[in-house]
């Protein structure tokens, strides 16, 4: 097709590689090579600009085969398996819909590659609820942004599009107060365009629940005997408490993958407790960054189709949810899973976990696998190789991602549709 060799320019393109789905990319495509003109985000550049490998053929045991043969083999693996794990789930709405249809039919289990982080939020939310906000609200309302346990440097678009936006309806963005709570953080992105520096309160990240609970105590007017808690000075926390109470619309920002300690849902719960307490008299909200690799999308679709945010088993014929037992890790280590499908079409380096059970990888075409799976089917990336729909990290906004090139790679949805037909 000639159109693939002609240079084409696109503007206002949504970015499927970022959980915040920024939709302002300027992109040119010539001869199926994609170039992003206006980003400094390395994940975005790497995602869009990776070259199509020469060999786009599906493989069985490392040998090229037709798509039909690969699908037949993948189907036979499902049929032989008593419990197939559908993991990764790095795909768009349509891909997730069709994976769930197959998993439901065959009594499989579904889990997203980033569910460990997602569950830190979900467990806190389903325990006591929470008070949250979205990107446009932060951009226009927030006069104080508190980063908890994250410097959010991997979310550069949050900084340039939201935190330091050129304009806002109700605040002067350059005057926003920024606070960091955590350690080993690059706080430079928290310096306002006018040079206003952020407040940094060093603290031990695994101690965040107790640090936040102490902040909550200070906010409610209690005095604490300790001078420090989880490295953080009580005097610093008191100043923070005062700052928050003086704010019109404070936002606590965290990133679940950065809360990598046991029972980290307690940190999310503690932040939510503070927000609930403050909301009695003022407006405060939370915002969770993340949602990349289609996590927000997978969680949304799974929730609306089953009632549960992944980690769902259909083995009993109905959706059974268990946030630990049906994790990919547990499914493999406890040998519950008899076969694994790994779906990952966004970032190249999200490789399947090592396992001896039969494995089908449906992934980004250039994926460098460490071991040869039983079946490999190169699939298109939504927003590059085909259009699709994706859910943003705040679980409110969803966007249509676009087709930019003519790779001919099949979508995950079409692959699972064929598998469903073959079952």
């Amino acid at each position: 097709m000639n159109s693939s060799t002609k240079k084409k320019s696109f503007s206002g393109i949504p970015n499927p590689f970022c959980g915040t789905l920024p939709d302002d990319l300027e992109i040119t495509v010539s001869d199926n090579d994609v170039k992003v003109a206006n980003t400094t985000c390395p994940i975005t550049t790497a995602g869009f600009e990776r070259k199509l490998p020469e060999n786009l053929s599906p493989q069985i045991d490392g040998k090229d085969v037709s798509l039909e043969k690969a699908i037949a083999k993948a189907t036979s693996i499902i049929k032989k398996s008593g419990n197939t794990l559908f993991a990764g789930l790095g795909t768009d709405v349509a891909g997730n819909r069709n994976i769930l249809e197959v998993a439901d039919k065959v009594g499989g289990t579904v889990d997203h590659m980033l569910s460990d982080g997602v569950m830190r939020n979900v467990l806190a939310m389903s325990d006591k609820g929470w008070i949250m906000t979205t990107l446009t609200e932060i951009k226009n309302h927030a006069d104080l942004v508190i980063f908890v346990g994250t410097d959010a440097t991997e979310h550069s678009r949050f900084h340039d599009r939201v935190l330091w936006s050129d304009e806002a309806l109700f605040v002067n963005p350059a005057e926003r107060d920024v606070v960091y709570l955590g350690n080993k953080m690059d706080t430079k992105p928290g310096i306002s365009p006018k040079g206003k520096k952020p407040t940094v309160i060093p603290c031990d990240i695994p101690e965040l629940p107790v640090v936040i609970n102490s902040l909550n105590a200070l906010i409610t007017g209690k005095s604490l005997q300790a001078k420090k808690v989880g490295w953080a000075k009580i005097t610093d926390l008191q100043k923070l408490a005062d700052k928050i109470k003086a704010a019109k619309y404070a936002v606590f920002v965290w990133s679940p993958p950065k809360l990598g300690f046991d029972n980290a849902e307690l940190a999310v719960g503690a932040i939510s407790d503070v927000i609930r307490k403050l909301t009695e008299t003022q407006r405060v909200a939370g915002f969770s960054l993340g949602g990349g690799d289609g996590a927000a999308t997978a969680v949304a679709v799974c929730t609306w189709q089953t009632g549960y945010p992944t980690r769902v088993s259909f083995a009993k014929g109905f959706p059974e949810y268990n946030p630990t037992r049906y994790s990919t890790r547990e499914m493999l280590s406890s040998e519950q899973a008899e076969a694994m499908f790994w779906v990952s079409t966004f970032t190249s380096n999200k490789l399947p976990p090592e396992t001896d059970i039969p494995t089908v990888v449906i992934g980004e075409a250039g994926m460098k696998l460490k071991t040869t799976p039983d079946v490999f089917i190169p699939a298109g990336t939504p927003g590059v190789d085909h259009k699709g729909l994706m859910v943003r990290v705040d679980n409110v906004v969803s966007l249509p991602v676009k087709q930019l090139r003519e790779s001919g790679l099949p979508s995950v949805a079409s692959i699972f549709d064929k598998i469903y037909q073959a079952l």
């Binding site: 206002g12 949504p14 915040t20 920024p22 939709d23 302002d24 709405v93 819909r97 249809e101 439901d104 039919k105 979900v122 939310m125 389903s126 325990d127 006591k128 609820g129 929470w130 008070i131 949250m132 906000t133 979205t134 446009t136 609200e137 951009k139 226009n140 599009r161 939201v162 050129d166 304009e167 806002a168 309806l169 109700f170 019109k248 909301t279 003022q282 407006r283 909200a285 949304a300 929730t303 609306w304 189709q305 089953t306 009632g307 549960y308 259909f314 009993k316 014929g317 109905f318 959706p319 059974e320 949810y321 729909l389 859910v391 679980n395 409110v396 906004v397 969803s398 966007l399 249509p400």
Partner: protein
């Protein structure tokens, strides 16, 4: 393919047919006149003695979109009691208060309903609402797009833009989010809550924009009239759940200068303050005024006793009410300088004075509003109760002795304070057919639904007539969707795909310039990416769009 339903008792209020014995013919998904004698009838259903109505239409049910998905995620323990196994034909899922999308579709259809309308579709969440509704098999659907709290609207109103400019914005919104109506929730109040205002009465000013809920209601209602949108402005009023809010509701009705309004889940807005507990029924006063004002239609939002979850755009009132919730958890969200949502689980108890009186207030309203064309049967699913409680509600309306038995079981003080026991009225099948089919269809401008005339879609429900109306309405014998037999004796027998009902008002595209500029400056999504294209809904044949005339001819109010 020609199908005959032979000898049923037909209830088709749109044509004044009240239980007459009549054959119905279906060809290619549509109801047709009696064919000529030489035509072959391919299939005949003997429905002698059966009650036949058009498929049910739920004009206010929270079935899809972000807040429903939050409710699902927050309520894993509620799903446990109603996990749904897959069958060779149907998918697995969960039911009860916050059912999964697929189960929602099956359960509505099994109950004889063939259309459901999501009443709270945000611009910023419209795509997801449509995606979720697309995953509901068989059922037709549609959405009411929310306006009246978004900063674009608030600014335009505060700046006093010309009426035509506002109309263009409203028309643009309906068209570009593929909606069929417009809803406003706590007019201006969701926005005010973002500025820490904790209440906003009908004539109270928003602290930032300095406009009142009355301004918002009048402006939106007038725009919809100008644009000839069939359904009146769908209003979730001020002060939801506040004792004494009946005054606000009465003021709202009186103050519209004849402009049409649909007041939704009015039960939650009919509280007076008499008695020792300063909580009493305002239903009689509401009904009296509704009876007088032909520009007003309502739905009730009946509560039923048991666990449910409330999901609303009304952050201000959901926050205020969360302490009454159970289990003790709630989600609140400010959304995109557009709207908000609050999700609070509730367990309504028949032994609670307030809950028992709410139950009675809802029923009083149903029974005291004279004109069934202006009162629609809803529980505001899932806010008052899950939609699966409709058969029970219908029995309460149709069976006085059953209703009075139930009245004896509720909180004694509440029972003593309601006039319910003195109301003799029993709804007839004809009236039930009006309030669950004909009236919502007429109100929404669905000219070929909610009725059984030639040319209508063959969405038809066949019931075995029984004394126990709950049993009768629970599991219809046959449900046809677009002429396909889709459910039999309360079980799905065929999967089809429903359509999405929309209207497309005329508006001047010049509105897109200021909108684009506003979104570019202040939003985090470009306008082009925010709007929902028809192609997305059609989705290569997974869905379809049915566009109805944008005309107010023949509407209720």
């Amino acid at each position: 393919m020609l199908i005959k339903l032979a000898g049923g008792k037909v209830y088709d209020p749109m044509h004044g047919i009240n239980g007459q014995i009549k054959d119905i013919y279906i060809r290619d998904g549509r109801i047709v006149d009696k064919p000529s004698k030489d035509e072959t009838i391919h299939e005949t259903y003997d429905v002698k003695g059966r009650v036949i109505m058009a498929g049910g239409i739920d004009p206010h049910t929270h079935i899809g979109g972000g807040k429903v998905n939050i409710a699902r995620m927050m309520m894993p323990e509620d799903h446990e009691q109603d996990l749904v196994k897959h069958t060779p034909l149907t998918r697995a899922g969960c039911g009860h208060a916050a059912p999964s999308t697929l189960t929602t579709g099956y359960r509505y259809v099994e109950m004889g309903y063939t259309s459901g309308f999501e009443p709270a579709m945000l611009q910023s969440n419209a795509r997801q609402a449509h995606m979720e509704m697309a995953d509901m098999p068989i059922l037709d659907k549609g959405g009411y797009v929310m306006l009246g709290n978004d900063d674009m609207f608030m600014r335009m109103l505060a700046e006093g833009v010309e009426r035509e400019v506002m109309n263009n914005y409203v028309g643009w919104t309906i068209s570009n989010f593929n909606a069929i109506a417009v809803k406003v929730v706590n007019p201006g109040g969701i926005s005010a809550f973002k500025f820490n205002q904790r209440q906003l009465d009908l004539d109270e000013k928003h602290t930032y924009y300095e406009i009142t809920p009355r301004d918002v209601l009048k402006t939106l209602s007038r725009s919809l009239v100008d644009l000839k949108v069939p359904h009146p402005l769908h209003v979730h009023g001020c002060n939801l759940g506040v004792p004494g809010n009946v005054e606000t509701t009465l003021d709202t009705i009186r103050g519209m200068d004849g402009l049409p309004l649909h007041l939704t889940h009015i039960q939650f807005h009919s509280f007076a303050t008499e008695g020792d507990k300063h909580f009493s029924s305002g239903a009689a006063r509401i009904a009296e005024l509704v009876n007088k004002h032909k520009n007003i239609s309502i739905d009730v939002g009946q509560i039923m006793f048991g666990q449910t979850v409330t999901a609303s755009g009304d952050t201000m009132r959901q926050y205020a009410g969360h302490s009454h919730g159970s289990p003790k958890k709630y989600v609140l969200m400010d959304i995109e300088c557009d709207n908000g949502c609050g999700v609070v689980p509730f367990k309504y108890s028949d032994k609670s004075f307030v809950n028992a009186l709410q139950w009675a207030i809802g029923l009083e309203t149903f029974l005291m509003v004279d004109d069934p064309w202006r009162v629609f049967l809803t529980t505001d699913h899932p806010n008052g109760a899950p939609f699966t409680s409709y058969p029970h509600l219908i029995r309460l309306l149709m069976d006085r002795s059953f209703r009075n038995d139930m009245l004896h079981t509720i909180n004694k003080e509440a029972a003593d304070m309601t006039v319910l026991g003195s109301i003799d009225r029993e709804y007839s099948l004809y009236e039930i057919a009006i309030m669950t089919r004909a009236a919502p269809a007429k109100s929404l401008g669905l000219t070929d639904r909610g009725q059984l005339g030639a040319g209508s879609a063959a969405d038809i429900t066949v019931y075995k007539e029984m004394d126990n109306k709950e049993k009768m309405f629970e599991k219809p014998e046959y449900v046809f969707k677009d002429g396909n037999l889709v459910a039999k004796n309360g079980k799905i027998v065929k999967i089809t795909r429903g359509t999405t009902h929309v209207i497309k008002p005329d508006y001047d595209k010049s509105i897109e310039k200021p909108l684009n500029e506003f979104f570019k400056k202040y939003h985090t999504v470009a306008l082009d990416n925010l709007v929902v294209s028809e192609d997305e809904i059609i989705d290569e044949g997974r869905g379809s769009i049915t566009q109805h005339n944008c005309s107010r001819e023949g509407t209720n109010a």
